[in-house]
């Protein structure tokens, strides 16, 4: 049994089921024409069906792959959309991507408070100094200059608004 496929199948079935429940509260047909619930019902039903099929597939014992001795299936080579195979016993999400994800997620509430430039500097500092452990002069320079240059390019040159901070210091959107 492929556990990850079973978990995915269950998750998809639940998402599809929830979406279907919400879709059935919209009119499927209204005034003799397809209503707002028409497409969501069809799509969420499709999701539920696919989820159930995947659960069934994951519960079947996997067939041994028939292969010539010494041959390496081309499909086993790194494929687009497939994460590299982790070593035995490795966590589902390794530490480094998890650390980056946490830092990335922490940006959003800071954007509204500190503004884009300060938040980006903090993000760079966290990623370069803490996650990547790079403390060279180049890393320090990049931490400050890249966010500032980006702000100048987008806000000053192209007129695209970026989040401003609450400090209202009057420069670089801080």
């Amino acid at each position: 049994m492929r556990r990850s496929d079973a978990v995915l199948g269950v998750a998809v079935t639940l998402i599809g089921g929830g979406a279907l429940w919400m879709a059935t509260r919209m009119p499927f047909y209204s005034e003799n024409t397809p209503g707002p619930g028409f497409f969501p019902v069809l799509v969420s039903s499709g999701l539920v069906i696919m989820g159930l099929i995947l659960i069934r597939q994951s519960l079947r014992p996997s067939k041994p792959e028939v292969r010539a001795v010494g041959a390496v299936s081309q499909l086993d080579r790194e494929a687009h959309g497939k994460a590299p195979k982790p070593p035995q016993g490795a966590p589902f999400i390794p530490a480094r991507p998890l650390a980056v994800l946490i830092g990335f997620l922490a940006c959003v509430p800071l954007l509204g408070v500190l503004g884009f430039v300060l938040t980006a500097i903090l993000l760079f500092a966290y990623l370069l100094f803490f996650v990547e452990k790079r403390r060279s002069a180049g890393a320090i320079a990049a931490t400050v200059t890249i966010p500032v240059v980006t702000w100048l390019l987008f806000v000053q040159l192209l007129g695209i608004e970026l989040p401003n901070g609450l400090l209202r210091l009057g420069f670089l959107g801080i």
Binding site: P34, Q74, L75, H80, R96, A142, I146, T150
Partner: protein, 515 residues
């Protein structure tokens, strides 16, 4: 006045020094701005530069817009191939084979093939436009909601052929994309769907948010799993490695031909667009290839076919715009706006009343591709240097630009939260071996698919046979069934052959051992 004569006069007008300079400026600006996430799609780039182009005389302004359009298209291909970030919908399919080519150290040939196949296809598109415009306009008028609905159905089901090993996971990805596309206010009835009471979701979810989350950030997370990832890819060392080889061109000739023809016809349909053209082209090229298993792993035809469709579509898209006044895509909508601001009404009389505008615009589309080839082919070694940036520095820049792109769409922090959600989703999809491309494709095609199906059922008084009763629609259904049947049979045969080969090899080994 003959068509050829009018076209030659158009070239003569477009090829003045002043017009050529503005066209080149447009191509360069379009490429530079098109690289930036949030601004990368040609429509956004055209819109940003509209204040500049409107200051010029109408003919010159429209010629510059043709340059910007091509520049932005090439920029979309550049970011998709190098960084797996499609900044516009028609570049999504380039991630599938263009980015793996980049990882194999063949970023230059991929980008070169993008430019060359685009140039060849643009030529085909413009030539076809010149001579087939009246006929194509007539055909386009016969395309109604049922035909569009079946075309969408064709595109969506062909997604399965892009799903890789597991069609079920491909379909799951597709259904997820369709579900996300229903978020927002229903255009027919004004009812809210899946908004959870949030005003920010009334307008639905923006394409760029989904793209950045699923592709850009998702890719970063997966790459970070490799310990001590430094420079991600190797940039080519020799100058000739920056361009496609003769073998690449030979391999891609059918793909370019298929893409050019498909792109032109789909572009000619009001509402067709380069997105549909590139998706359908990729699927058809893959399904008609002798080695479909190479697609998704760096097949050069997987870049040539969609890029050809993407570029010949420009010629096709001019047909509904110029002859019917109907924009075929977001980019041509901006061009329509520009024409109206210039006081020019596109429509059947445009070629009669304003030939001095219509023909130079057509000529400039062609010249824009030449300009791009001349400017961007030598620039490929420069763009590829992006790959030399150490990864520990490159990925924070990607993450920062993702936030900028997400915020710049509507100036809303809610969109940045959505980006976070889709980033986690994108990473989980990769970990669970669910392909993200079908989800993105379904998200783009979903609204149009829904709209046309509902319109068709309204037209036919809820009789679903309308899709089979109309000849064009029925032909598309038949083509869809044939392509899917071919794909299934082909997949089954390959599996049986592989199993047989393995069995034969195992028997041979046992026989040797017994001897």
């Amino acid at each position: 006045m003959s068509v050829l004569h009018s076209l030659m006069e158009g070239f003569a007008t477009a090829m003045t020094v002043n017009n050529l300079l503005w066209m080149v400026a447009g191509a360069v600006l379009g490429t530079l701005i098109g690289i930036l996430p949030g601004l990368g799609n040609p429509a956004a780039t055209l819109a940003i530069l509209l204040p500049l182009t409107l200051r010029l005389p109408p003919t010159t302004g429209l010629i510059m817009m043709a340059g910007i359009y091509h520049g932005a298209k090439f920029a979309g291909a550049t970011t998709a191939i190098l960084l797996n970030i499609p900044t516009e919908t028609s570049s999504v399919v380039l991630c599938y084979d263009g980015h793996p080519l980049s990882k194999q150290g063949r970023a230059g040939p991929a980008m070169g093939m993008s430019a060359i196949s685009g140039f060849i296809a643009s030529t085909v598109g413009i030539v076809a436009l010149t001579f087939a415009a009246p006929l194509a306009a007539e055909l386009a008028v016969n395309f109604g909601p049922p035909e569009f609905a079946m075309l969408m159905f064709f595109g969506l089901l062909l997604v399965v052929s892009l799903a890789g090993k597991s069609p079920v996971k491909g379909l799951i990805s597709m259904f997820l994309g369709l579900l996300v596309s229903t978020v927002g206010v229903d255009i027919f009835t004004g009812s809210e769907r899946y908004t959870f009471g949030s005003v920010d979701l009334y307008d639905g979810i923006e394409f760029l948010i989904l793209t950045l989350g699923l592709f850009a950030v998702g890719e970063v997370m997966v790459n970070l799993e490799k310990p001590n990832a430094t420079t991600k890819f190797s940039a080519p060392k020799r100058l000739r490695d920056y361009l496609p080889t003769m073998d690449d061109l030979r391999q891609s000739r059918m793909a370019i031909a298929i893409g050019s023809v498909l792109g032109f016809f789909i572009g000619a349909l009001p509402g067709g667009g380069s997105t549909m053209a590139s998706f359908v082209s990729y699927a058809v090229v893959k399904n008609t290839s002798r080695h479909p298993e190479r697609f998704g792993h760096g097949a050069i035809e997987g870049v040539a076919g969609p890029e050809a469709a993407n570029n010949s579509e420009a010629g096709g898209a001019m047909i509904p715009l110029l002859s019917l006044g109907l924009p075929g895509s977001a980019s041509t909508s901006v061009m329509l706006a520009a024409l109206l601001l210039y006081g020019v009404q596109p429509g059947p009389l445009l070629f009669t009343n304003h030939p001095e505008i219509a023909w130079p615009v057509i000529a400039s589309l062609y010249l824009g591709t030449i300009a791009l080839l001349v400017l961007n082919l030598p620039m490929i070694p420069v763009w590829v240097q992006i790959l030399r940036i150490p990864y520990w520095l490159l990925y924070p820049i990607i993450l920062m630009l993702a936030v900028v792109g997400a915020y710049s769409v509507r100036g809303s922090l809610f969109d940045v939260w959505l980006l976070m959600g889709f980033s986690v989703t994108g990473y989980l999809l990769r970990k669970l071996e669910v392909p993200a491309t079908p989800m993105l494709m379904a998200f783009v095609l979903g609204p149009q698919a829904e709209r046309t199906v509902r319109q068709s059922l309204m037209l036919s008084d809820n009789n679903p046979m309308i899709f089979l009763e109309r000849p064009i629609s029925a032909s598309i259904v038949a083509t869809t069934v044939a392509v899917i049947a071919f794909s299934v049979i082909s997949r089954t045969r390959k599996r049986r052959r592989a199993a047989q080969r393995g069995l034969n090899a195992a028997v041979a080994v046992v026989a040797d051992t017994v001897k």
